[in-house]
């Protein structure tokens, strides 16, 4: 009886700490789900899946590492697998031209001509691993931390970031909705 009571207290404490950590870093889950899924329903499902995997993976969390590093790993692993599964079943990728009008007006930042929207669109169109890398880069993670999350070397991170940034810039500048600096 006492054992069960103590166990319950420990679980409740774990839940509380876990939820506090999630609450403090919910932006990570939100931005990842937005970059990997287009429809709101899919984003919601992906967020739930990430939450589930985070909770299930919690016993394997090593407190020696920063919580957000671990959280990024799980969230990105789940998001990549999710998108690959979606591709298999539908053969589509998110943020295609056909989705643009549906996205318009979804919420204020969805002006399809806005540079922020175009960046979102072209980040979402990257290959899964490239997208994961760039999300970490834009979240201002150090190359060392990105290397730790991705499982590649720091040099490799630097090379790839520079290459993908160039690719993104070209994609945005060549986008038919880019109206800002077109001569």
């Amino acid at each position: 009886m006492i054992f069960l009571f103590i166990r319950r207290i420990i679980i409740l404490d774990m839940q509380e700490t876990f939820l506090q950590q999630i609450e403090a870093n919910k932006g990570i889950i939100f931005k990842i789900s937005r970059s990997f899924c287009r429809s709101k329903a899919d984003q919601e499902d992906l967020r739930q899946e990430i939450l589930l995997r985070l909770w299930k993976g919690l016993p394997r969390y090593d407190p020696a590492y920063v919580f957000t590093t671990w959280m990024y790993r799980v969230a990105l692993n789940v998001a990549i697998s999710w998108q690959r599964q979606a591709k298999k079943s539908s053969g589509t990728i998110p943020f295609t031209e056909t989705h643009e009008h549906a996205a318009e007006g979804e919420f204020p930042l969805e002006d399809i001509h806005s540079p922020t929207y175009l960046l979102q669109k072209h980040v979402a169109a990257l290959k899964e691993l490239e997208k994961a890398l760039m999300l970490l880069y834009f979240e201002e993670k150090s190359y060392r931390e990105i290397a730790e999350i991705m499982g590649i070397t720091e040099t490799n991170v630097a090379t790839k970031v520079s290459r993908i940034k160039e690719k993104l810039k070209q994609a945005i500048l060549n986008d038919k909705h880019w109206v800002y600096e077109r001569s």
Partner: protein, 221 residues
């Protein structure tokens, strides 16, 4: 567009998210509700296990193995070639079932908390491993043409036996060995490979192989 601008655009996106209060909609209460629901409902992952194909292979393979086992045991060793061939076929199929069961167990144990490249590689490799098992299964092909052999047929020196049965076994053996050696990631782009593995059940496996290539390129370049 300067290098810095992309980062600035991302910060702008962050700011807009805050302004639009979208993040606030994902409130503490919502998280708690979702979490409590997860606890009480024994939520199952929406990520479909990749072992569906393997699951069917185990089920159908199990029936086939049972049939082969009954044939082998039922013969009581009366027909040497028959028992020998059926036993070899039985062993190949038992191997495949064990391999698939092991792969299904490994798929369920995938650790999403590991490095991204490592986890993704494990997932793709396990999915692509179906092909490795298939390649070994091709080696059983010659034994499908030896079950009807008998000592009397060989001793009888019949022309039909030496002119048809032996070349058929020879061809099947050569074909099986060639496929065993050539079914690999390196040949996934070849036309014969695409023709051989042309079907809806093979497409996730071929995609997994392509993904493995992509992962290797991502790691190396």
């Amino acid at each position: 567009m300067k290098d810095l601008e992309l980062n600035e655009l991302w910060k702008e996106y962050d700011r807009k998210l805050e302004e639009s209060r979208v993040l606030n909609l994902q409130s503490w209460a919502v998280n708690r509700q979702t979490f409590e629901w997860m606890q009480t409902q024994k939520v199952r992952s929406r990520l479909r296990p990749m072992g569906v194909f393997k699951g069917w292979a185990v089920f159908l393979g199990g029936i086939w193995v049972l049939f082969l086992g009954l044939l082998a045991v039922g013969d009581h060793g009366r027909h040497g070639w028959f028992t020998f061939s059926i036993t070899i076929l039985f062993l190949f199929n038992v191997y495949a079932i064990i391999a698939y069961l092991r792969q299904m167990a490994l798929i369920r144990q995938i650790d999403y908390t590991d490095h991204i490249l490592q986890t993704q590689q494990q997932l793709a490799a396990l999915q692509a491993s179906t092909l490795r098992t298939t390649r070994i299964l091709f080696l059983q092909a010659p034994f499908y043409s030896t079950w009807f052999w008998s000592g009397r047929l060989i001793a009888g020196n019949a022309l039909a036996f030496w002119a048809i049965a032996v070349p058929v076994v020879g061809l099947l053996s050569l074909g099986a060995l060639w496929l065993y050696r050539n079914i690999s990631l390196a040949n996934a782009d070849k036309k014969w490979f695409r023709l051989l593995f042309n079907g809806i059940e093979w497409s996730p496996i071929l995609r997994a192989m392509e993904y493995l290539k992509e992962i290797d390129e991502f790691r190396d370049r």
